[in-house]
Homo-oligomer: 350 residues x 2
């Protein structure tokens, strides 16, 4: 992170060693140190940024696998030997781009490294509100927040009084979906993988009920217990057995917004889902979605959510790891449910 | 079928022996003969009808199983010891209902028997156009026709130039979906289970391409061959392995209208579907639907489809079995793909 006299700086990076199969291991990610020119070359429209916070998100597992035309529509595979990338909060060091000047704060895609040279695109947003924690732009006010907002309000088409189930409910997205559902006047239940997370759901995020899926012998029975009349909306973050159980409890004209299926990303052969005929009988809609399709609604989202944050009516729990050197274990921990709340990495605080 | 002097008639019926598990057998359906009063009792709003044509439809398998709250939203289970029921074309013999008079033709639910006493409901329609074959009201102009119409135009939201795949494509619904897709200006491919059916798809119904799924070693490869750029719309009639293969070939923002999953109805444990994560990457919508939700559009459908039929621009293939006594084998044959086109039974011609 040291800047040298010639306008260059050393730049620590997290590199993908090789394409990953199965669960990722820390040894799949290696460190490299290079130097970066902190000045944008004359005529270039790029921006040099210092990365402050890096976001750990489940979809990044998909980018660690071999290039696959099936997943390319979501995101390109990382290149072995190069830094991985993800959503970040960064400060502009130098800019050749007309929209950005030195000192600006940005959230959007950047490399997992101390400094990145980025070419701004519509998925980069200038940060204008700094009366809230800056790290929120990796979560509540960034990609995961938009995911919860678009997924719940646009994809789930919720109505007051409906019953909502959220899996991986204490995660970066789930904790918000639950709070949005309460604001809407829904009954909302969340599942998570530890007592600590279940307590958060009930006591901090205001879920009506919550359960630890690891302690349930029978997911169908658990869902029946909390939804005796059935589920109108399922916000799907995990896939596999949980989806199968939910399908049997859906109400007629129910909706399943498929945000992610973290339980499946590490399997070469995904688990089979057996109860799909129920979507006929129950007229269920299952809709996969990707947040970038909704980024044009970002400022509308900010107008909606900032007042709730300032009034303390929406809260957010982050799992903050200090130092880029601890990034790989934090990222890999996601797939074992080690994080409590939104997982992020502090690379630098300013 | 003989009427007796006292205003009664003998009434042959097809009875469900007991709830069915696995593939239904002919012995699951037994015959009974009773007598029926051809006069409606004074004060009753029922209607006595003579059943002319009975429709054999895959969903009837679901009604042959044990009562299940999961499927009750679609249809109640049949009662062992009683006649099964289904869509029928019938002629009114006597009526206590203000909307029906002797001689009227009706399509809607009736028992599998020579005469039925029905209580008209919104799923009974008076037949007003008889310049087309009366049997069409079990198929093209009845429930399956409405299924194809609502499923394709309302659920699939098709656009000109899109690519459409239809499974069980020569069946009562599929053959129409393909023709609607061509009218819309789509590229349409169908799958079926015999060379005869594949020939029908290409040479009679105007599908662009068709294949025999039983002769394909690799369904993924078959779909890639016919959809090198992917599938925009899948009209799902079969489920299981075909759905899994289709999921991998869907285009971004593709739509899957789930009309039925005939391959799964006879399994106690349904086959697993493994490729659901693709619906995230591709933003796919999977929508189950039930035709009765769209019955309010029936007259709009008639206005749309009758001109095409009269101009010979929509055609329909029926598999006609003579005699109620041959009904059970015809119905069971559906689950082995024995029917070529819409399976129906002639009970009486007038």
């Amino acid at each position: 992170m040291a800047t040298t006299g010639d306008g260059k700086a050393t730049n620590k990076q997290v590199i993908l060693r090789d394409y990953v199969t199965g669960f990722p291991k820390e040894s799949d990610l290696i460190f490299n140190e290079t130097t970066v020119d902190l000045k944008v070359p004359a005529g270039s429209k790029t921006v040099v940024v210092k990365n402050l916070y890096l976001s750990c998100d489940p979809y990044m597992r998909i980018r660690m696998g071999k290039p696959d035309p099936g997943t390319a529509a979501l995101a390109q595979a990382f290149n072995p030997g190069e830094p991985i990338s993800g959503y970040a909060v960064s400060r502009v060091i130098d800019s050749g781009h007309p929209d950005y000047t030195k000192g600006d704060l940005i959230w959007g895609l950047a490399g997992w490294e101390e400094y990145s040279v980025i070419t701004p695109n519509p998925s980069h947003f200038k940060i204008q509100h700094t009366d809230v924690p800056l790290s929120y732009y990796t979560g509540l006010l960034g990609m995961p927040g938009m995911t919860a907002y678009a997924g719940f309000y646009e994809v789930c088409t919720p109505k007051k009084g409906e019953t909502v189930f959220v899996s991986a409910a204490s995660g970066a997205v789930g904790q918000l979906v639950g709070q949005f559902a309460k604001i809407m006047g829904c009954y909302v239940v969340g599942s998570a993988g530890s007592k600590e997370k279940v307590d958060l759901l009930k006591n901090k995020f205001g879920f009506d009920e919550a359960f630890n899926y690891k302690e349930e012998q029978d997911l169908n029975a658990a869902l029946k217990r909390y939804f005796p009349e059935g589920i109108d909306i399922y916000f799907e973050n995990v896939g596999g057995k949980m989806l199968d159980a939910v399908l049997l409890q859906m109400k007629p004209h129910g909706r399943i917004a498929v945000c992610g299926m973290i339980s499946q990303y590490n399997f070469e052969d995904q688990e089979g889902v057996h109860n799909l005929t129920t979507i006929i009988y129950k007229r269920v809609r299952i809709q996969g979605f990707v947040v970038t399709d909704y980024f044009d609604k970002y400022y509308k989202f900010l107008d909606f959510v900032l007042p709730y944050i300032r009034e303390g009516k929406i809260t957010y729990v982050e799992d903050v790891v200090e130092g880029l050197e601890n990034g790989p274990s934090a990222l890999i921990g996601l797939f074992h449910g080690k994080n409590v709340g939104k997982q992020l990495i502090v690379v630098a605080r300013e």
